[in-house]
């Protein structure tokens, strides 16, 4: 099966910032992303969990976007601006994709 090099960017970000981040990604020309739930976690600012919570503050979501290498820099700039003053983790890893025409 023919595969193509791409980058997988995963951004764990505070839930109240989700729509701002995805808008920024769209502006940066990202063609697709998926939003994954996060149940809880721990970091420098303490630990949290979603159980029983009503408000969105005090919760994170993960936004994953597979992009062509050439779009990476723009995406990271957009992402960085969003997480700059906020909690959040941005990781990039290499991957291979099927159907490269989709990215």
């Amino acid at each position: 099966m023919k595969t193509h090099k791409a980058k997988r960017v995963a951004i764990i970000i505070e839930a109240p910032m989700e729509s701002r981040l995805t808008d920024a990604l769209e502006k940066a020309g990202v063609t697709g992303y998926s939003i994954l739930p996060v149940l809880g976690g721990s970091g420098r600012s303490g630990s949290w969990r979603r159980d029983g919570q009503v408000g969105r503050a005090g919760g994170m979501v993960q936004v994953v976007s597979i992009v062509k290498e050439e779009r990476l820099e723009t995406l990271l700039n957009a992402a960085f601006e969003m997480v700059e003053h906020h909690m959040g983790v941005v990781t990039v890893s290499d991957c291979e994709v099927l159907r490269a025409e989709r990215f």
Binding site: G52, G55, H85
Partner: protein, 332 residues
């Protein structure tokens, strides 16, 4: 005074308070008891819909007194002004920096709808009438406090440097159309439009099981608050703790004065006191994470949910009701 203690004692032995206590206990005992996030959110949607609808239906039944406009103005005013009081008090009592103090202050201008709901329950249990439109006042009080808090940061030194408050049109629209405001106002209007007939058709959903759902919701809030106290206890310096108990009393007094001035009934005044005394733990924290990311959420969440909410629930509410009733109630 004596009768206030009696009231507090009676309040303490109601299923809703004890459910909250059970939740706190379970969290402190590190029990794995927990509500799924979806269940907690569903219960909160139910409570908002029910309380809004009932308020609207009661307005439809008893007519819209001229007071509605005045009461909403009073609510907007309280929400906008209380953060300044809170900010001032925090500067005296604590060593919080401007950003954190402003963030906390915003929570105390805004409201906690479940505290309001618990307040209406006490009124009902004691047979004290109140204006149905008070839920609209509750909705009106959600947002202005946020603007006051952001203004407090913007005019400070911290506001000029370090990013300051991230305020824009988008945040404004998020605040004004946040879910609880829309649902509260929307169901209030539906109740007002459909009136008695509407209420009759869904009464056995929004009235009969209401107290029971409230119990489970408070159990859940106890779990969350207890967890917060366990993990966030480190922020609870004495000054902060004192603020969390004194600020609601000050808020309630201001609410009392204003409510009496505009001529609300004893029940209505009690509810305005409750609203003024309560602190937001849903809408304002979310807005603060966006607008004041430098502020530490552990501080405002622990204060609002871990200190002020239980204080109001257990001690504050019966006191506010008793005071309003003593000063303004006809008999009893």
């Amino acid at each position: 005074m004596e009768s206030i203690f009696a009231l507090a004692g009676q309040n303490l032995s109601s299923p809703i308070i004890l459910s909250f206590v059970l939740g706190v206990f379970a969290a402190l005992a590190r029990s794995d008891l927990s509500f799924p996030e979806a269940a907690a959110k569903a219960m909160s949607l139910y409570l908002l819909f029910a309380i809004g609808f009932k308020g609207g239906a009661s307005v439809a039944a008893y007519g819209l007194s001229l007071n509605l406009g005045m009461a909403i103005l009073a609510g907007l005013f309280l929400s906008a002004v209380l953060p300044f009081v809170a900010f001032f008090l925090l500067k005296i009592l604590t060593s919080l920096d401007t950003t954190n103090a402003a963030a906390v202050a915003g929570h105390y201008g805004s409201i906690s709808i479940v505290t309001f709901v618990a307040g209406t329950s006490i009124l009902e249990a004691q047979g004290i009438a109140s204006e149905g439109f008070m839920v609209a006042v509750a909705a009106a009080m959600e947002a202005p406090a946020i603007l006051s808090a952001l203004w407090l940061v913007a005019r400070s030194k911290a506001g000029q440097t370090n990013g300051g408050a991230q305020f824009d049109r988008r945040l404004l629209q998020e605040i004004l159309f946040n879910g609880s405001i829309v649902l509260l106002v929307g169901s209030f209007l539906i109740g007002a439009v459909t009136g008695e007939r509407g209420l009759a058709s869904i009464e056995s959903f929004i009235v009969a099981p209401f107290q029971g759902v409230l119990c489970l919701f408070l159990l859940d809030m106890g779990l969350v608050a207890g967890r917060g106290l366990r993990d966030g206890g480190r922020v609870l310096k004495p000054g902060i703790f004192v603020f969390g108990v004194v600020m609601p009393l000050i808020g309630a007094m201001i609410g009392l004065a204003l409510g009496a001035a505009i001529g609300l009934s004893a029940g209505g005044v009690a509810l305005l006191m409750v609203l003024s005394a309560s602190a937001s733990y849903i809408a304002v924290p979310a807005a603060m994470r966006v607008a004041l990311p430098q502020a530490d959420p552990a501080i405002y969440l622990t204060l609002s949910l871990g200190i002020t909410f239980p204080f109001n629930l257990v001690i504050g509410l019966p006191v506010y009701v008793a005071v309003a009733q003593a000063l303004l109630g006809g008999s009893s």
